[in-house]
Structure formats: C-alpha cells, structure tokens
Symmetry: D2
C-alpha cells in the first residue's frame, strides 16, 4: 500500500484534491490496471482523428462510493493535438464528439440513437462559468457560437423546426453567483419552468489533476453537474433530480487546483526519498506514518487559500478558443440534420 | 396645420419614426408649449449638477392615445456634460439619479419615499440588449458593475442584508433573442418565479429622434418596457401585468433610427422650400398635398431596410462607458445605506 | 443632366457624401454603363462561390480626378451570402480572396504571381479601427485570428520560415488616435523602421453609399489607405510614399454615413416628384435649380453632426465575425504553402 | 543556516522560483531584519490610506548580485484593502501613487520633484501583457482608461498642452509576441523613434512569491523592465539603455508561479518534519543534505511544465479591474494639473 493511496483517501475530508475527470479518479487507484468493484472501464482509439476514448461506467453504489462520483457514464476524448491551432483537426474531432453526444443523449432520453429522432427536440444549452476569467470562459464562448433556433419556432409557428429538420435550440450564459447574486440552479430552474426544454446540455470548464490534460481532453457525462465541480465550484447540482429534465454535461479541464500541485509534490517527494538508497529510510518513515500523522503533515502544507487558487497555462486563451469551437461544432453536427439556418 | 403634424400622424401606420423618449414625443406636438389633454408636464433644474429635469405624466387613456405610450411617469435627466468624460460630474449626477430612483420606486411599491424602507427589499436588475454591439451594451455594462448581495443572504442566512442595511440585489444579462432563442420576457418570468424579487429594474439602450440626445439624457419610467422599444426592439412587454412585479425602466438614448433621419430631412426640405421666396410654391404644394399623397411620397423615400438600421456616433463606446457607470452608481446610492459590501 | 449628377459634383466641396468603394464611385457616374476617361472596368463571376468580381483600374490623372481616388487597382468581391453565417461558404470565398491577394501582391512587389515567391517574405498586417466599437472592429478581429510567424524566425534562426515554406508574418492592432494619442501612420512608420517588412497589409472597415453593400463586399486595392477613408477617418495616408513599402489594403463596408442617407433621400424625393404627373413641375424645378441653389438647399438639410454619424445594422457583430474570419483565412491561404505552424 | 537559505541560492541556477518584487527578494534573505551589503531598506506608513510603503534601494553591484535585480529604486505600496471593491479607497491610494510617481520621475529626469515641471513633458505609456488572458491584462486595461492628449498637440498646435497645464500623453497596447510576431521592445523602439517621448511608463502584471500579495501590492521602479519579468516573461529589456529614454515601471503581482508553490511546499515540509519531535531526524536530515543533493531532490519535484504555469485566484478579474483603475487614476493625478481634457 503506497502513500499515494492513503493520502488519496483523505480527499473525503476537508482538504480536497479535486479532479472533475472520472478518468483521473480511476487512474488514482493503486494498481491502475486492476478492477474496481462497481466500475467498468472501456478504452478504444479512433484512428483517423487519433482520439483516445475512455468510457468509465459507475454501475452501482459501491462504485460511486469508491470513485466519489455519482453513477453514470463518463466518456473522455483525449488527444494532445487538441491543444493546438489546427482548425481541420478540430473539425474532425467535432464529428467524433457529435457521434458521442448523440449516443449519450439517446440513452438519456431513452430512445435509440437516431439522428432524425432529435429533430424537433427542445434543447437548452447553458454555458457555465465566468465569461471574464479566461480559463472559466469555455462554456460561455461555446454557447455564444451556437446557432439558436427556438425563436424561429415562435416566429414561424410550432413545428417549423421539425419541418426543416432542425432541433429547437435555445441557450443561456447566466454568469457566476458573484455577478448575479443567484445560484445558477435557480436561474436554470426558472428558465426550464418557463420554456420546457426536453434536455439540458451544460458546458463547463473543469479542474484536472494532471497539467497534461489541460485543454487536451473533453469529458461527456450523463450525470449532470454536481456541487464542487467546475472551475467556479458550483454549489448546487444541475441534474435530472434537481431540474426535472435529463442533463448532458460537456467539460474540458482548463485548470489544476493549486492544492493538487502541492499534494502531488509531497507524494513525489516521499517516493523520491524512499527510492533513493541514501534517503530510503526517510521515505519509508513517512509512508509508515499513521493516517492521522500523514493527514496532519499535509494539512500543514496546504495553506487555506490554496482551495480557491488554480493553475493555468499562459496560452489558455487560445486553447479555450479552439475547444469552445470544437464543442459548439460538435453540438451543431449532433443536432442539425442539414446546416444551421441560413 | 404644418406638414410636420400631418406626417407625424402617420406614425400610427407602418412607417414608424420612433422615439423611446416621452419627452421627444411631447415635443413633437404642434405648438410645443400648449396643453395636451391627459398629459401633464413639469420641468425644473438642479443648479449644482446643471441637470434639467422633465417629468411627463400620462394621466389617462386620452393622454396615452395622444402620446402613443402607456399611462405613467416618464422622468428625464438631461445634461450635455453627460457625454463627456468627467468622473466627478458623473458621480454628482448619480446622486440626482439615486434620489429619483428612490422616489419612483416609492410610488411603485406604494410606500413613502424613505431610504430605510428599501433595506431588505429584493430587487432584480436586468441589463437588456446585446453586449457585443456597442450602442446596445448599456444595460449589460451597467449590470456588470453592480455589487450583488442576494447570495450573501443565502450564505449567511435570511435577514443578513437587512441587518447590514443592504438591499437584496440580484442581476442578469440575458442577451438578445438571436443569442438565446428565447424571449427576454420568458427568461425573466422564469427567474422571477424562482427567486421572487419585489421589484424589477430594467436598464436599456433607447432610440431617440434627435441626435443631440445621444448619450446626454437618462429616462426613468414606472411603466416598464414595451414591445418595439429599445435598440434591440423587444417583442414582449416587461411590465407589472406581464411579470407580476413592478418594473422601473432606466434608459439612455444611444441610437437614432435611420428612418427618423430620413423623415426629418423630408420635413426640413419641405419647410425650406416653403420659406424661401423662389421655392415657396413648391413647399406649399407639398404641405397642401393630401395626407394620402404625403404618405405615398414618404413611403417611397423610406427603404424597407431603414426600419432596422440605426445611426450612432463614433465615440459611442466612451459614452456607453460613462453612462453605464453613472447608472450603476445611481442604483448603488439609491439602495445601499452604507457602502456596498466590502 | 440629372440632379443626381449635379449634386454629386458637390462632393468635392465640404459636405462630402463619401464612399470608400471605387465600385460605388464608378456607379455614381451618369450613364453608369458608359466610359469614363482614364478608368477601366472589368467584371466577371466565379461560378462555384457565386462571387461577382469587379475590377476598377484608375489609369491616369484624369481618371483619378474623375473618381476622387488615387491611381491603382480596386478589386471588389461581392456576394449577398457573405452576410450570412455559413462557414463553408466563407471558407470557399477565402480561397477566391487568397488568389486575388496573391495576384495584387505579385503586381505590388513586381514579380510574377507565384506562391513560392511569397515564402520568406516579411509581411506586416495592421488591423485599423477601434476594437471596442463593433462596426470598426473588423481589422482588429482579423489580425487577432492570424497565425504570426516572425518571432519563430528570431527563435529558431533566420531562414527558419523560408525553410518551412512559411511567410514571415507579423501584425499589430494599434487602436485609434483617441486611444493612443498618436497617428496610426506614426506608429506604423516606427514599427516598419524597426522590423523592416517587405509589405504592409492594412485591414479596415469602410464606409459605403449603399446599405445593401454592408457586409457583402470585400475591396482589395494596391493604393493603400488615404486620409478620410475608413470608419475612423484616418488623417494620414498609409501608402508606399508615406511608409516606404508597398501597401495592400483590404476593406469591408460596415457603415453608411448618415449624410449619405440624407443625400440619397433628397435625390429620390426630387426624382419622385419629377416622375409623378401631379408633382412633375416641382421635381423639374429642383432639377433645374442652379448648382448653387441646390447646394444651398442640401446644405441646409445636412446637420453638421451628420459628418461623423454612421448607420449600421443591428446584426453587425455577426457580420464582422464572419468577414474577419474570411479575411484572415484568405491571408493564411495566400501565404502559407502548408498549414500555419502547429 | 536553514534549508530555506540553501534552496534559495539555487535560484541562480535553472529552476528559477521567481518573484518580480524586490520586497520579496529582500525578505527571502535569512535573518530578514539584517543588513545586506549594497541594499538599503526604508519603511513607512501612510495613516489615512493605511498604505505601507517599502523602498528597497539597490545601491551597487554587490547589492544587485545579492538581489538578482539591477541597481535602482524599488518602491512598494501595500494594503490588503486594495483587493477589495471600494472605489473611494482606491481613489485615495491613487493620490499616494501619484505622489510617488512624481517623485520617481523627478529622479529619473534629473529635476526636482515639482508638478509644474511635468507639464508639456512627452510621456508614452505602454500596457504590457496579453489583453485576453485575465491576470495578464492589467497593463492593457490601465492604458485603455488613460486620457491621451498628444494628438491635441498635433491638432491645436505645439504648446497647446503646456498652455493648458497638460502633459503630452500617448499610449500603446502592443499585445504579446504570439499575437504580433514581434518583440515588444522592437515595437516600442520604433514608436519612440518616431514620436520622441521624454519618458516611458511601462505597466505590467507581475509574478510574486506569496499568494497574499496578489492584487494587494503596487511596485514602482526606475529600473525598467528586464528579461524574464512579468507574467508574459519578456525576453528583451525595456530600459534607458535599450530604448534611449528613462523608463518607470509600475507593476502589480497577479500570479504566483506554480514552481514557487511547489518550492515553498517542500521547504515547509522539511521544516515541519524538523520541528516535530517524532520526525525531527528526518527534517534535519534533509537540511543537512549537501546543496547538490537538495538540488537533485527539488529538481525531481519540479515538472518542466511548471515553468510556464501560474497560480491565480478566481476573482482575478475584479482585482485587475480595481487596480487598473487605481493606476490610471494615479497617472492622471501625477500629470494633469487640472482635470483631463473635457
């Protein structure tokens, strides 16, 4: 049993070293290749776009407890090239993304995965996060690039969109609580009550554990958004339970928590000491510390401010630009049989 | 009876030459100084800030019909200096604005005008318009500068704001229909249903008749927002009737409709021809044309595209900057007994 | 001789009704189809993209005087579809644009039109206009989307770009005089002196006469930018004479001057009166007014403020978005043999 | 001799744990209160604004070597309240800032500190950093809020500004190298060559060591900007030597390098281990490791990507908003005898 494992368990207490990616949560288990009860794992590659897909399914309560995330499907698309400015490549990935969006929505609305069944569906897309903080602006940017159609239905009569092979698309960028004085959940509940969409798609910037995943991974999940997730740390959940309609969440990690960096450093330090002959005793010593002693040690190292600090790369504006485009394109291709209205 | 009058009457038909200012509507009547049945007029000046106040009250149905606007109070603050970049001056005007906001809200919520009665009141502020079109961004900019407090109530317990002498302030920038696929009225109905504010303040960019009023006038009205008003031409009303809570609208003219420019040009041309000895016959001739003939003439001159085009000055970004500050400061001073939370 | 012509001539005086498009200047001549001394005209269509090309060449002093524009080539690409949000279409037009950019630059740098000859060329692109006023932000947005390469040359050594088949691309968004306190020409002279590019490409928002051309036309010219052109009304020229290097200007009309609207209205009114039997005498009367009388009439109708006011459509943000993309793509395809650096 | 000291010394090697604040560099010396050869320290408080001033003077080569910064004055204004949204407070600090700007410029241009001597002075202000990455946008935001005057001099004649008691102010926001393909130093050299200012003021976002200084400290220095400083890590210096005119740099720390966080964690961990009875031996052990061993240990912990990553708080947009205002107000008050031109 490594120090890594024991420290990880502390996450349930108050110095959360958070990842929003089920993929990373899964990786953090000791003996990464091994089985976790109640959690299934499937991996495949798409050759042309060189995208690696990983689907983590949390099957039951046991899996949910082990993973610290609710039951459901967590699908990630990974490609280093996503961080780069190659529009054709992003266009290609958006096709892959569209397929997966359709598949997950098919599950969510309990019908078979068929394009034509999405026509006439009423979909509300919400861009979560603070549009004026660069790494939090992914959702707002993606929604701003979507071609809305719901108002056409109101202008040209009910059934207009279905007739044209279009979805009934609406979208909102609510801003964050400090800007609105309201919970995002409250705003959405109100809008959903008034406009009665069949489905909510929530786009959000996520926190990862590994800096290598910043801007190179897209996660889709049918479980919605949960308290404490996202860059802005949502306080209320956005789920079928809380909102009354199914929620597909699309996220991209754009920050790593400062606490994760500190945490990883300590782990690496202990491992380094343990693996070197001269300092072996010392590393072993820490590893053999009791859980409480380890807790006390790390506690001391984590300044309280770290909880809200995040780490982000200097070219984050460009990465957000690429990925918000990829996501909005993916949504367009998932729902628009033909081109968006012209 | 002048040509001016006869052409003005056409406004009720389909080539509207629109102003959102009751002040300008009032001025457009022949014999400007005269009485209009059902409409009262009061003017005064504030010396220190050199602001001219005009209060147009539409008292009954007759007044509403004559003015083409619903019954209620329309108060304007005018000062050429508002177009200029003098922060101290804008701060001074914001004090005047705060007094008038309190007064109108006092009427709206049927209580006496008293600062302390506003404490603990739940107020939702909406910034109407398209944040990415400069002359339409007044409302969004003003709301972005407000200090929200409603979430503090949720964090620290009900009564927190009242205890601190604070209003319960929330705000939203919904965007325009092409961006959301939803009517602003739908979004607001939903949010109001969920968060139950006592009052809505709607901030909007307006269309004026006179280019001299661009960025130099602030209009307050207790009648809310009506279809066809604002730069973005709202299709649904935001009023006590439609939303269930009183609505105070604060607006600043930032555009003049292209149709207004054309219309004024024709009127001036006819008058010019009529007043010059050599062309007098011609001007008289047009003035004596039948209403239908005049209509046909002007109709021809107004290209259909003009309806949606607007005229705006090149320094509109700076004027919007000043005035959104003045309005957000005015709201702060109207509601915060002490400083906004620090 | 029509009133139209006589009024047009007044343009040389002080109430300029300006167009930045040579195409529109050419159209304004009486007997549009006829010949103008010193000016050649060539029109053709590109089938696939449905773009109409018009090349106005001002050949000599006589042509320059008649057209009120300097000698050189003015090429326009026109397509109504450019105002719409169809990325594939914009991509197609950007290929056409790239071809024409290469051709004009081939002339400018006195070499044959060959892609490979552009490799290793040092090109500075300037985005003229005020980034915070929507219709003036075309140039800034286009430059922000360009993939710069000049710094790679400095990082990886001289010859790096040529070796990779890349141009040496640099770019600047200087802002307008009220923001910088400097003439754009001064800033560019300084930067050109320090970085020694072979060519300047200036991207600018233009003023048109016809509202139908807003966002549907791209003009390329090898004559640079001249005082009084553009939305922001440049005071100093950006030309080979003033800057020492050839200048290719790329522009899109995004505004119509308010004065143009008024002017056109008066002309249409006179023509309307003249063409109707009942008012024929009146229209004829104005048409037969002496040039001075006409001048005095129109002078009276044009308020001095009109000079700086502009007319723009409410969806200008979207049109600017499309067209800045088309232009930056056109530049990429003109210069990057392969993809921009990845 | 503590581990802290020994690790700090490594900074001269290749895993720089950087601070742009001379204040923090000074603090990092062992026996903080002690004397450092060639470095003088002066501290005082301003009562009303509760600002703490610290002036670090690097007097000679010895001091420069010890501090890792060039000779000159480094003055910091510190106040926790600066992170808060209290406009009156920020206004008060801007008065303090103005006094210090005048004093440092007085030194720089070798004249006595007198307001009137600044009239007619030609000052260029540059806003360094990437305007589209929130924590790097301090300089661009501050420059955008300045009231430029240099163009008035060109419009109304040389001497206009002096006559009105105004400085001759110009400003530029050049963007970062990835956006322009040019070094900022090249752009500025060009502009300075063309417009001949007497002084450059460079406003920049800085990197601090301590997260407590983010947005609570303003540093003024008469030494200019040096390679590797700022959030964007300038590669070329902006100094009197490189540009030919004196340079006053104004900076605010808005990020902490991820490497600094890791570094501090390791130090704290070692100290924690050393101070606890049970683990004392282990901490001592690390402290007694040879410099090379320590180096190897920390080297292992610092991932190469950390060099470019930064840590920033989630409300950075608001802090940048406050402080860019404070700085632009400070500059206005330092130079404008009366109000900026209205």
């Amino acid at each position: 049993m490594t120090a890594n494992y024991r420290i990880r368990k502390k996450k349930q207490t108050d110095f959360a070293v958070r990842t929003d990616l089920a993929l990373e949560e899964r990786e953090s288990f000791p003996g990464n290749g091994g089985e976790i009860g109640g959690v299934s794992l499937r991996e495949w590659n798409e050759e042309r776009s060189q995208v690696k897909f990983t689907e983590v399914k949390i099957l039951d309560e046991r899996g949910a407890k082990a993973m610290g995330k609710p039951q459901g499907i967590y699908l990630t698309l990974e490609a280093d090239q996503l961080a780069k400015k190659d529009e054709d490549y992003h266009r290609e990935v958006s096709v892959q993304l569209a397929n997966q969006i359709r598949r997950l929505i098919g599950n969510l609305i309990e019908e078979k995965e068929n394009t034509w069944q999405l026509e006439g569906r009423k979909i509300l897309v919400v861009g979560l996060g603070n549009p004026s903080v660069t790494p939090d602006a992914l959702g707002p940017k993606a929604v701003n690039q979507l071609q809305m159609t719901r108002h056409l239905e109101q202008q040209y009569g009910r059934g207009f969109c279905r007739g044209k092979g279009l979805p009934v698309l609406s979208g909102i960028v609510p801003g964050v609580m400090a800007q609105t004085g309201m919970e995002t959940a409250e705003i959405l509940k109100g809008i959903i009550g008034e406009t009665a969409p069949d489905l909510l798609i929530a786009i959000d910037a996520l926190a990862a554990r590994s800096i290598r995943r910043l801007g190179t991974t897209i996660q889709l999940t049918d479980t919605g958004i949960h308290p404490g997730s996202g860059v802005g740390n949502h306080r209320h959940s956005l789920t079928k339970d809380s909102l009354g309609i199914p929620v597909l969440a699309i996220g991209v990690p754009t920050v790593v928590g400062a606490a994760a960096i500190v945490h990883d450093t300590v782990n690496t330090m202990v491992e380094t000491l343990a693996s070197s002959m001269s300092t072996k005793g010392m590393g072993d010593f820490v590893q053999e510390m009791s859980s409480d002693e380890q807790y006390a040690l790390i506690r001391e190292l984590l300044e309280p401010e770290f909880g809200s600090l995040y780490v982000t790369p200097p070219d984050i504006d460009e990465r957000i630009g690429q990925l918000s485009f990829t996501i909005s394109e993916g949504i367009h291709q998932a729902f628009f049989e033909s081109k968006p209205c012209q």
